[in-house]
């Protein structure tokens, strides 16, 4: 794996910053609904039909736990989505630093490393789903 710091080109998109703005808008709207006690609880069609949770089940309850600043409960509702959120926070932070410093990180993975990264992500996804099924989320 190669990691290099390179200069950002003029006019180059800063994706982490764009997605940070989108996340702020969506989280703000969700928090507004939460404060108004009108968070729409939509039943999961997958769970309704099969009786088993889908890979994203528990996400709404996880967000509500976060609004109550209860990180442990939030993690237990859906560890995969929670850890993705933590990763996103680091990505947003990187976006802000990248914008301020006018530099960005350049990652290069070999084919073998790319393959094992995919295996790791797929494995994590399946383990998370298995946890949701066993825990009866």
């Amino acid at each position: 794996m190669q990691v290099r710091v390179v200069n950002r080109k003029k006019g180059e998109l800063n994706l982490p910053l764009i997605y940070l703005i989108i996340t702020i808008i969506l989280t703000g709207s969700a928090y507004g609904l939460f404060r108004l006690h009108s968070v729409p609880f939509l039943p999961c069609p997958f769970k309704e039909m099969t009786g088993y949770p889908c890979p994203t089940c528990g996400s709404t309850r996880m967000v509500l736990s976060l609004f109550h600043i209860n990180f442990i409960d939030a993690f237990l509702w859906n560890p995969g989505v929670f850890l993705s959120g933590v990763a996103a926070v680091f990505w947003f932070g990187y976006g802000i630093i990248s914008q301020l410093k006018r530099k960005k990180l350049y990652f290069s993975l070999s084919k073998r490393e790319g393959f094992w990264l995919r295996v790791l992500l797929l494995g994590g996804f399946m383990i998370n789903w298995l946890y949701l099924v066993i825990a009866g989320i």
């Binding site: 998109l13 764009i18 989108i22 994203t56």
Partner: protein, 276 residues
């Protein structure tokens, strides 16, 4: 065996157009084998945007061409995206700036949403008038409830048009992000995020099917998925199944919405069949 100067795929014989991308082929000579073909003229560069090496043979999307004019470019792009998606996404450039494609998606998406709201108002009004015929005049409370529901749905429709531009932009970024992430998962993202985003913007053209009353929304949704699959595989020059994976996986993961749609349509068709 010859190869197409536009899409680079090989074919047999001496066709006037490429069997893969449909472009007209101009030949420089009549060779016996491995014929040399004249490459297409270099497309005009987008002002201020460097042309990457792999994209030099691609043309500029009419809507992004400053010489085409706003409405001419808009109509030409809609025509290409709707009726020749395969050729459009494999021969035009999609790695440029995201501003102009976003304007395209906003114009087309907002117009389609406005038509959708108009149809729903007409549909609700006709339902209201049909129901009112069967409610006795003494049932004032029921009539007033129906009237309120109609009023709230009308106001909701108009409010949704006001917030539609924000929702369209947010939706474009969310969908393009998911598509690109899933393309990366299967090594299908041969080009940058801009390409995925621009394909997502131009696939909004399918929403124009909303002009068809009743079934227009479903047709638009299904055709936009089809255009997105063709678009991602054409613009990223990757396999069709990778494009399909990237477009369909978000729906599979998001609570199996596709399965729900299939069940819904299956139940509707079964219901109609039972009535007949």
């Amino acid at each position: 065996m010859s190869s197409c100067p536009f899409c680079g795929k090989e074919f047999d014989g001496d066709p006037a157009t490429c069997p893969h991308c449909g472009q007209v082929i101009h030949k420089s000579g009549q060779g016996e084998s491995g014929e040399q073909m004249t490459p297409p003229p270099a497309p005009p560069a987008v002002p201020g945007m460097p042309v990457p090496e792999g994209e030099k043979s691609r043309k500029i999307v009419p809507f992004e061409d400053p010489d085409a004019g706003f409405f001419n470019g808009l109509f030409d792009t809609i025509k290409l995206a709707l009726f020749q998606p395969s050729s459009f996404f494999s021969t035009y450039r999609f790695d440029g700036s995201i501003g102009r494609p976003m304007v395209f998606a906003l114009v087309v998406g907002w117009f389609s949403a406005a038509v959708g709201v108009l149809w729903s108002l007409i549909f609700n009004a006709s339902i209201m008038s049909a129901i009112s015929r069967y409610i006795p005049e003494t049932e004032n409370a029921a009539m007033s409830r129906l009237g309120n529901q109609f009023m709230f749905s009308s106001i909701g429709g108009i409010v949704s048009l006001v917030i539609a531009p924000i929702a369209i932009v947010l939706g474009l970024f969310i969908m393009a992000g998911l598509y690109h992430l899933f393309l990366m998962m299967v090594s299908g993202a041969k080009r940058g995020f801009e390409t995925t985003f621009n394909v997502t913007c131009y696939s909004v053209s399918a929403k124009l099917f909303m002009v068809i009353p009743f079934c227009g929304g479903s047709v638009a949704w299904i055709y936009s998925l089809v255009i997105s699959i063709i678009g991602l595989s054409g613009a990223h020059e990757t396999d069709g199944w990778k494009g399909a994976f990237a477009v369909l996986m978000p729906f599979v993961l998001c609570c199996c919405l596709v399965l729900l749609m299939v069940l819904f349509f299956g139940a509707a068709i079964a219901g109609l069949a039972a009535q007949n």
